[in-house]
Structure formats: C-alpha cells, structure tokens
Assembly symmetry: C2
Homo-oligomer: 354 residues x 2
C-alpha cells in the first residue's frame, strides 16, 4: 500500500475520545494530515455521509480510517464510494450497479457486531425517505482491520449485548438455508453460535474479561466476513424485517433482531424445514433431534440471557404500521430463501413479536 498523507478519521458518539482510544490512534498517525468526521450515529444516516464526502473533496483526502463499530465503518465505506461517484451518493444505494469506485478504507474496531470491518457491505439510513438500504461492492472491503478486544472493554452492556445478538443473527441467516450440502460451512456457523452462547452472558458480569471479549470479537468477524456463506443460499429476511423497525424507530439493530429472530423461527418451522432445526438442535444445543422445536425456546432463552428486551411492546413499538412495513419489505423483491416470506408471513412475525 502506498503511504497516504491525507486521511479522514471517522468516529461515532465520542466514547473513543472519552476512553483514550482516539488519542492512541492519533498518536500512531503522526506525520499524516488528519481530517475528521465525528458524531456518526447508530444506524448511520445519509447526512453524515454527505458531510464526510464534502470534507474529503474539499481536502483531497486519500484514505478513510474508521474508528468505531459497524455504523462508523458503514459510513466510512459510503463516504469512500460517494467521493468517487459524480452524482448523489444515495443513487448508489438505490442501484448498486451505478458504483464507480471508492477510496481505500481501514478500520479500528471498537464494537464487535456487524463484521463490517471485513466485508463489502455498507448500510445507510435515509431519514428523509425512511429507507435503510445497502451498497455491496468488493471494492468497499477495508484494506485492513485492527481488532483489539481491549478496545471493547468500555462498551455499555446494552451495546455489548446488541452486538452479540447481531452476530448470532448473522450466523442464523446463513445457516438456515435451503442448501443441504454445506457441511464445513455449517459446522463453522455452529461454532460461532456456540461461542456467542458460551461467552455472551459472561460479558454482562465481566465486561473486562479479555478471553470473552476476544471470542465475541472473533465470532462477530467470522459471522460476516463471507466464510459462513461459502457455497450457500442465504436468507436475510430477518434483517430486512428488522431494518424497517430501525429505519422508523430509534431501535438498536441488534435488539430488533433479538426480538424478531425467535418469532421468525416459529413462523418458518414446519415439516419441510424441520431438518435444519434438527441439525441446529443437536449440534448447537446438544439436544436430540426429536426436540427440534425446543431449540426455538433455547434461542429465546439465549437472547434473554443477554438481558435484551424480548418483545416489541417493551421497546414501545405497537402494531399500527406493521402492514406498511411488511409491504415495504416485499416490495424490494424476494424475502428469504429458507422460506420465501409472504406479506402475511411478515405481518405474522411482527405480531408474534409484540
């Protein structure tokens, strides 16, 4: 990699400054001219992206360094693509094929959750249109990612738990698939799940447990760095259903998933799909295949063990827009491969989650 002399540093809420991580990073960047975009919010918004693009263009920034979690990294990627694109960056999210290139990015991770540090995805919320859309391009994969478990010690319990729920959901969404010949990939997905189940609850009592932080950080990376989808159809229906909630309410993405996922499982479980639940039951929960339905209860218990709210009601969301949300989801095309969800299915999942 050629040495860069002008770098945009992207950060979030300011906790990296509070806990000294920011100072450490800035010290490492000595000799490089740093420009800054701070205050990127969870479920990062188009506003921040526009701001970042403007800073980059005005200052001929050559490289973007994200210091934070998935939201900060996703914003950095969107900025990287937006700087190069001649039109409005949101057009890229509406039509990924318009992508024309991107600046290089790097990450220093402070929240274990999205795996964005090692993948090609950027998910941005347009607050004006209430849309939450993705831009997915190989060129958006960061050039490097630094994962130091100690940088996650100071993460509040809620964010730690939401990150673990997000990781678990990623593993599920690639695991519960119609593909039957993905033995190694599925055993690795189960390894990620078992890691979340074993080390997730530990962190609620011991936020500075290095081993648990390291395992969860590694799991969040493996869960969405591409490995768990090798050779598989994947099923991102739950993410699509959850995104509608995050785009319309102030709801942390991982919490939305923790609430919705067991209800997605209830909705899709039937005789034709039982085989995959049986695998999950035996290999992840150590139960016998005949207890396949019990694995859904175990899944609920797992999310509960992270002290996460387990109903939409508890996060003050009622059913008034479910019809509209479901309509938004199906409008974007096929919803799910393990089961292709109908609008009725989606409404039912939302209702089960109340």
């Amino acid at each position: 990699m050629k040495p860069y002399s002008r770098v945009l540093l992207v950060t979030g809420s300011g906790s990296v400054k509070k806990f000294g991580i920011y100072d450490e990073v800035v010290k490492e960047l000595e000799g490089i001219e740093i420009f800054e975009l701070s205050g990127v919010k969870p479920n990062p918004t188009l506003d921040s992206v526009y701001q970042g693009i403007e800073i980059c263009r005005k200052n001929n920034v050559e490289f973007i360094l994200a210091l934070g979690g998935g939201s900060v990294i996703d914003a950095a990627k969107a900025i990287a693509a937006g700087v190069v694109y001649q039109g409005d960056v949101w057009e890229l999210f509406l039509d990924n094929s318009k992508f024309t290139g991107a600046l290089n990015t790097g990450c220093i991770l402070t929240i274990a959750a999205t795996g964005s540090e090692s993948n090609k995805n950027s998910i941005i919320t347009n607050e004006l249109t209430k849309e939450k859309l993705g831009l997915r391009r190989d060129e958006l994969k960061p050039q490097f990612a630094i994962l130091d478990p100690k940088y996650t010690y100071t993460l509040p319990e809620k964010q730690t738990a939401a990150g673990i729920a997000d990781t678990m959901a990623h593993a599920f969404e690639q695991y519960f698939s119609p593909t039957k010949d993905s033995y190694l990939t599925d055993r690795m997905a189960e390894s990620v799940m078992k890691t979340c189940i074993k080390f997730g609850p530990v962190l609620l009592n011991e936020p500075e447990n290095y081993e648990a932080r390291a395992e969860i950080m590694w799991a969040s990376n493996i869960a969405l760095n591409g490995i768990l989808s090798c050779g598989k159809d994947t099923d991102w229906a739950s993410h699509m259903i959850a995104h509608e909630l995050s785009a319309n309410y102030d709801l942390t993405h991982g919490i939305a998933l923790a609430i919705l996922f067991p209800n997605w499982m209830e909705q899709v479980f039937d005789e034709t799909r039982k085989w995959k639940f049986e695998e999950y039951t035996v290999n992840v929960w150590g139960l016998s295949a005949s207890e396949a339905k019990t694995s859904i209860i175990k899944t609920r218990e797992f999310f509960n063990s992270l002290n996460l709210p387990d109903t939409l009601t508890k996060v003050s969301i009622d059913g008034q827009y479910f019809e509209q949300f479901a309509e938004n989801v199906v409008r974007r095309g096929r919803t799910g491969s393990f089961k292709n969800l109908t609008k009725k299915d989606i409404i039912s999942i939302y209702r089960r989650s109340l």
Copy 2:
C-alpha cells in the same frame, strides 16, 4: 488491480494439459502475452525457481499465475520474490528478513492440500544442500485464488489422499497447542477435521463426487489460510520432522505426515497434555473424555481409511539417518510448542513410525 499484459504461467506435471484445464485457462487469458514454466515437481525444487526467475527477467513478466497444487503455487511465490531480489533467491529462504518485495501472483487450484493459495508461505527444496525451507511474507499472499472442485476430479487417488492427510495435519498442528483460550478457533479446527473424516474416504470410491470434492477443497483452504491459528501458539514440529524425509527421499509430503502424526501423538501424550486430547476425543470423535488415548487409534484408522501407507518401512525408509534428521530439525531452533521436542523425542517419533 491494473491489467497485466505479460504473465508467467506456472504448471506442474502436465496433468492440467491432459485434462483440458490448461486449455480453458489459456483461452481466458486471450490478449495477454503468456510465458510458461512447466514441470514443477512435488516438493518444488530451487532449479524450477531459478528457471522461472530467468524467464520473468528476460521477458519483463508482470504477474505470475500458478495453475496447479501447492507445489506449483509455492514455486510461483518463490519466483515472484526472486525476480525482485537482487541476490540469489535461496538467501531469502535462509533469512526471510532479506525479502525485498515480490511480483503479484494468482492461483487456479487443482489439488486440495496445502492452503498455499490463500497464505503467505512458500516451501522450496534445495536438492544440492538437501534443505527444505520456507519463505513467509504477507506480500506473497496471492491476489486471488480460484477453487473449482471439478478441477480436482481427475486427481489420482494417492494424491487426493495425501492432500487430505496434509489438510488434517495442518488442522492438528494449530489445534494441539498450549493455548487454552481459543474456543472459536478450535471449534473451527474441529470442523475441518470432521470434514476430512466424513468426506475424505468418500473420494476414494467416488472421485467425481462434487460435494465431497468441494468440502475437501474448502477444508484444505480453511486449514491453512490463517484462521485456525488466530489467537494461538501453533506447533509445526510434525511438518519439520516430515520435511526432513521429503527432502531426502522421494516421499509425498502428505504421506509423510500421515505416517508420522499418530506417532507424534503417542510421543507427546502425557498427563500434562491429556486435556487437549480429551477435547479432540469428545468433539471430533464423539467419544467420552476418558477415552482420550483411543483418539490416537482413531487417528490411525482415519489415515488408513485413505489407503495411505502407515509405516516408513512400507515406503522403503529405514532408520539409518534418523539421528542426522533429528539433528537437522533441532538445529533450526525450538521444535514445537505443545511439546518442545528434544532430539531424543524426534528420533523416537521416527522409530515409532518404522
């Protein structure tokens, strides 16, 4: 990646030509000037590397494409480094720190075994000095690797089996380690082992079984692309002990490992290291922890299930040079981390393997 116009194509024994893979690749490269180094042997030798460097220098080659297995890829990497280095390329193997850069490389894999397509290692044999040494640099990691299971359909049974043994050994060498806090990494290593055990023997009867070829190819990649060593001390003693045999006899690397590994296990098994064998026994073989010693017998049975020779005697190697080989191994420094092997241990492993 900038488009390259002058490419060195490195191949092995000629089987890629026999089975049409070569023609497919050459067709894809239309418009690019191709130079060729063919005939790279298993346990690739310094001779081939010198030849490749000469072709590259004479023709201003910009990129090296390996079409073959680990030996071809390792030769391609060594050539890539040698073209840039001003001195004799062997100096880089004697002292990795002399590395000065490398041409970019790409791989089209035709043998599932070494993981070289996704890692930074090149292992070359100097026939003159009877040394087999490695050059390990991040810059040697190929820019891309194409893994098409169909390209391994025509691989002879012996090579298929030796590749699976090599993959299993890689998983073992990262798994059997003094590191106790590597939960996720170890579960993934076990996933690779279970994949070899389940699909390896299938290929002996059904060489064109796509699923089995795909699983074995994916396993060989995961086994040595760096993931299974994350957060771990690793123990490459068996590879070092095996390399002495391959450097001095015409012995396929994977076969050497299949013969040696169960005997390495016997040698290192004791009360202080039993805990790791217990994990292996329970998670890979589904036995109870109390049967830890049985896992070594199961390991022997696994290698036997691949129709591989199980003693050095069967491959016409007797004990006359064991003392010298052991001396060569320990001379290079610390041998192993799970157990730091003495010269006496190494001789004992060789003798157990007779």
